[in-house]
């Protein structure tokens, strides 16, 4: 099967520091792929380069959205263009719109799939009104799926940490992506909550057909969720493979895991 995300030789320099060094990575339709590695390995930087936050120094980022399959190069695009093309992300340090309600946060996610312009907003014709209603409804049902329907009208800043992480996912889903990039979604969650997250991610893939690329340090979650795992260290890819293979890979154990773990 053709990869829907194909990253080749991605390189990123910060001054003298090479944070990414010719990294290759690919994700196929419907896959859950994990990106792991020690702290400072360059995982978040990798996300930033793919989503247009940074402009990579070198390499290619290609996507082939499943709906209109033509492959296209997306490095150098503005973040909003990347999102329009169907890649949505969450942030390692939560970045919600703190002073907006939970529902509004998700509605912002819908922004790029809406059409109403200034005139539409002022005149509020039938189509605009329909669109607004539809967006409210869509946002609500996403929240319900994610289990935040109790909090629709709360301010994002007043949510507990775990709920904020889930809201980030909800917001990203609202952009109707074909692929979600999750940066440490389980950080700050207790094992019980992590378990719920595990189920949630599986459900997103199953019911929406969204592929997932995730960064995570919780090995239990990574091992149980992912189809394939990529491992980075010092900006380089040091291994890739199935969970079972990775958990036994001696390089990975040495650099990252510290011991063999059960996949």
């Amino acid at each position: 099967m053709e990869p829907i995300l194909d990253v080749q030789q991605l390189t990123m320099d910060f001054g003298g520091l090479r944070a990414l060094d010719k990294v290759d990575l690919d994700v196929r339709q419907g896959e859950i792929v994990a990106l792991i590695g020690p702290n400072g390995a360059g995982k978040t930087t990798f996300f930033n380069c793919i989503t247009g936050i940074y402009n990579p120094t070198g390499g290619d980022v290609m996507i082939s959205p499943p709906k209109n399959g033509a492959a296209q190069r997306i490095n150098g695009l503005k973040p909003n263009r990347v999102t329009e093309k169907g890649l949505a992300r969450t942030f390692q340090n939560i970045r919600l719109f703190q002073n907006m309600t939970v529902l509004e946060n998700v509605m912002i996610g819908c922004h790029c799939r809406m059409k109403a312009g200034i005139l539409g907003a002022v005149l509020r014709g039938i189509s605009t009104r329909r669109e607004e209603e539809a967006v409210v409804q869509k946002s609500y049902s996403i929240l319900k799926k994610i289990g935040l329907d109790k909090h629709v009208n709360d301010f994002a800043k007043n949510l507990p940490y775990g709920a904020q992480r889930r809201l980030e996912i909800a917001r990203a889903m609202a952009t109707e992506p074909f692929m979600l990039l999750l940066d440490e979604p389980a950080a700050g969650m207790n094992p019980h909550e992590t378990q719920e997250l595990d189920e949630l991610i599986l459900r997103i893939r199953e019911s929406e057909g969204i592929s997932i690329l995730l960064i995570e340090h919780d090995m239990k979650l990574v091992m149980s969720l992912s189809d394939r795992i990529f491992v980075m260290d010092y900006g380089k890819k040091i291994a890739q493979g199935t969970p079972a293979a990775i958990s036994k890979n001696s390089d990975v154990i040495k650099a990252y895991l510290g011991e063999e773990i059960d996949a």
Binding site: N39, G188, N190, H192, H217
Partner: protein
């Protein structure tokens, strides 16, 4: 050493702590576990005086420290590794560590402590002149812990020190916690999501729900407590 008696803390209109009482004895490692939003962070912030409790009392070494300025509290020997690391983003790693020792005057001691934390986290030594804000998440966490250690506290408050760290480092961190507790006789108050690990290093533990302490026991008993297992250990 530290005791909280029936403290109530608010964020504007949100009643975050609804009568928390707990105690930490000299030389102990105690841990506070609880779901997201239970009020663990708030408890630490109330002790440090950043979010002073509206009612109730906090005593440290026999002195009341409720509504005392945070800098006074620090000078009495309480250091905190706050949630979210809170690295000074434009200070270099070295300067961040220096800030940790802000109230100390013994140049020699500071120097040797610096070497000590660099030995704990060699990566920090490598990045010593990089601005704190550009470190990766995990590097920042190491820096936050080191910074607190630089104050040579008598009581160290740790808020989710393992957050965002690689498994290898997490293990390391917990070892360091044990080490500073036994070697330097630093008392440790540990807040953790990773309850499993926390209860393994701690002597005693408290469980917090919705701004109240609902359970307290020896850590080993909590580890086998059915409810705790179900709710926090994910087993």
């Amino acid at each position: 050493m530290l005791s909280l008696v029936d403290i109530h803390t608010y964020y504007g209109n949100i009643h975050a702590l609804k009568g928390v009482s707990l105690e930490v004895k000299e030389g102990e490692i105690i841990t506070l576990i609880g779901a997201n939003g239970a009020g663990k962070t708030t408890t630490l912030m109330s002790i440090s005086g950043i979010v002073p409790p509206r009612n109730g009392n906090v005593h440290f070494l026999g002195e009341a420290i409720t509504r005392v300025n945070p800098n006074k509290i620090v000078s009495m020997g309480i250091s905190q590794v706050p949630e979210g690391r809170r690295i000074f983003p434009y200070l270099s790693v070295l300067e961040n560590l220096d800030m940790g020792a802000f109230l100390r005057n013994d140049q020699e001691g500071v120097k040797s402590d610096l070497d000590y934390v660099f030995s704990l986290f060699p990566i920090l030594a490598e990045r010593r002149n990089q601005a704190g804000g550009t470190l990766s998440g995990g590097e920042q966490q190491m820096l936050a812990i080191s910074r607190a250690l630089m104050a040579r506290p008598r009581l160290l408050l740790l808020d989710e020190p393992s957050l965002g760290l690689a498994p290898l480092i997490v293990k390391q961190i917990f070892e360091i916690i044990k080490k500073i507790n036994s070697e330097n006789n630093t008392t440790i108050f540990l807040v953790e999501q990773n309850a499993n690990l926390a209860l393994k290093v701690a002597h005693r533990g408290y469980v917090m729900e919705n701004g109240r302490i609902t359970l307290s026991d020896a850590a080993s008993s909590l580890l086998v407590n059915e409810e705790v297992k179900k709710a926090y250990l994910g087993i």
